[in-house]
């Protein structure tokens, strides 16, 4: 499809490359330079070179943030993929007229602003309007109570936002699965459930690991849910970045943590694309 003379191609690509370079790569450069700038208490920052912000990584405070971020995001990612995998598999076996409306719904939930998800989950888990009222009504509980803020509220919220994301990540791989695979297993006498666990899951290993990593990075990026549904000890690195940048006016430390998060995400996503990509 390509033409031999590529000069017009470079001319054409110039504007978008410039836009991405100036508005996407340069900001990261500025961010990195701020991360080594001197902090001016109460003000902004002063250009310079100090590793003071990075030294704060070697502290129990940052260690705690990191541990909490990893635990919350990993747990949410695992739950989301566990629910999403059978769901996506079953969805891809449906006729188009069912698939399309379900995909529309999934995209709508996926694009839903985190502020709305946070609002609805905090309502759902609240005492006045929450599901505990439902449990009281059917006699499972004595009286309604509030389930937020708390560790499990954060897990519920993060799992909820990761679920449609995991579905979208799994969808291409699972829709390309050979439909004869489960049929063959069935012909050989395996029950549908056994065919699923012993044929479908093993052949999708790569897709599952890739999806776990992507969902992990995705829930690591959530700001609102840990800060709204959790207590300060449940705050993830993303919440602390925002807190430092906006409310503590410590842009150098916020930038240093953002650089750390950027490098971590790049390594994880890069690894996923390189070793777990589609064409393996």
């Amino acid at each position: 499809m390509s033409v031999r003379n590529s000069t017009p191609g470079y001319v054409l690509a110039f504007f978008p490359t410039l836009a991405l370079g100036v508005l996407f790569l340069v900001p990261f450069g500025i961010m990195a330079s701020i991360s080594v700038a001197h902090r001016v208490t109460g003000g902004f920052y002063e250009p310079g070179f100090t590793l003071a912000s990075y030294w704060r990584f070697v502290s129990p405070f940052f260690g705690g943030i990191l541990l909490n971020s990893v635990v919350l995001s990993a747990l949410a990612a695992m739950l989301a993929v566990m629910i999403a995998f059978p769901f996506t598999y079953l969805l891809t076996r449906q006729p188009r007229r069912i698939q399309v409306p379900v995909l529309v719904g999934l995209l709508a939930v996926l694009s839903l602003s985190e502020v709305i998800v946070g609002f609805s989950w905090s309502t759902l888990l609240s005492r006045s309007a929450g599901i505990s009222n439902l449990f009281v009504a059917i006699g499972l509980m004595e009286k309604a109570q509030s389930w937020t803020p708390g560790f499990y509220a954060v897990i519920a919220g993060l799992t909820y936002v990761s679920l449609p994301y995991a579905t979208m990540v799994l969808y291409p791989a699972l829709s390309r699965l050979d439909p004869e695979l489960p049929e063959a297993a069935r012909t050989l006498g395996a029950s549908p459930l056994r065919a699923f666990f012993e044929v479908i899951v093993p052949v999708s290993r790569r897709a599952i690991v890739a999806c776990l990593i992507m969902a992990f990075v995705y829930s690591l990026g959530s700001y609102l849910l840990p800060s709204l549904l959790g207590r300060p000890q449940h705050w993830t690195i993303t919440v602390h970045i925002t807190d430092q940048a906006i409310y503590q006016s410590n842009l150098p430390f916020a930038s240093a943590m953002a650089v750390f998060l950027l490098v971590t995400a790049l390594l994880l996503v890069g690894f996923t694309q390189r070793f777990l990509g589609e064409k393996a």
């Binding site: 690509a13 836009a19 996407f24 961010m31 529309v104 694009s111 609002f119 940048a245 930038s255």
Partner: protein
């Protein structure tokens, strides 16, 4: 399809829609309180969304930013996707990856990057800064859909046009552009809906000067819940369902999301 499988599909869909049902219920409360099921039915919170100056202002800001940002996203993505596809650019793969990355990285990282950039340039707090940031942040979506559209063009169609004497410009304008128009439109729509819902970048760049609807809801979460937030949420879900529904009706949603057509490709 066994009954068990159907039950599972249905259960997951029910979980996914539960928060939306609650939010919709809350938005109908008659008094300024969040009860579910709602106590007394009233549509006044929806009315407030469109008549109250601060809510309406936020709504207008959101629509302006989302509309402009979606156009910026397509303007960046279209020439890039076309150049990579049509000319064997040496750095094509690298450029494509850079175009994909804003969307894959944690948004807070981009938000801090944009914040420091606009503060340095002196446009911190301006609407144009939010528009350009969203445009770049969301350019991934039209880049993916347009690339998909270009790849699905039958090469013989291009060859036929060239044989008939069409030059590069004429091929692009009369053959390629009409063929990829639906993919451009899908990319535009995706970027629009996502910009409408984005809050962390908007909040960091101009949270205190240009209030978008998600930023306003975000602030209300700190300073007091009102059923209007539920009404706004319902409107957002509605917009997303309509936009994606249209793509699903007139376009090939499974293909856009990465499914292969059965048998046509090997």
């Amino acid at each position: 399809m066994t009954a068990l499988a159907r039950l599972y599909l249905f259960a997951v869909l029910a979980i996914l829609s539960a928060p939306i049902v609650v939010v919709a219920g809350v938005s109908l409360n008659e008094r300024k309180s969040l009860f579910f099921p709602p106590r007394g039915i009233s549509l006044k919170w929806f009315e407030q969304l469109f008549t109250d100056p601060s809510w309406r202002g936020a709504l207008i800001n959101s629509l302006t930013i989302a509309g402009s940002a979606a156009v910026v996203a397509v303007m960046v993505a279209l020439p890039l996707a076309y150049a990579i596809w049509r000319y064997n650019l040496r750095f094509g793969a690298l450029l494509y990856t850079i175009g994909l990355s804003p969307f894959i990285l944690p948004p807070v990282v981009s938000a801090i990057g944009f914040l420091s950039f606009w503060a340095t340039v002196g446009l911190y707090g301006q609407m144009i800064a939010v528009i350009l940031s969203h445009g770049i942040f969301l350019t991934t979506l039209p880049l993916v859909t347009i690339t998909l559209g270009l790849r699905s063009i039958d090469p013989t169609v291009i060859e036929a046009a060239e044989t008939l004497g069409a030059d590069e410009r004429a091929v692009a304008r009369t053959v390629v552009l009409p063929l990829i128009a639906p993919y451009m439109l899908s990319g535009l729509a995706f970027a629009f809906v996502l910009s409408l819902n984005e809050y962390i970048i908007a909040f960091m760049i101009a949270g205190f000067t240009v209030e978008t609807l998600p930023v306003k809801i975000f602030k209300s979460l700190r300073y007091g819940y009102t059923p209007t937030m539920g009404a706004a949420a319902v409107v957002f879900v509605g917009v997303a369902v309509v936009v994606f529904g249209l793509i699903g009706k007139f376009g090939d949603l499974p293909k856009l999301l990465g499914a292969w057509e059965k048998r046509s490709e090997g």
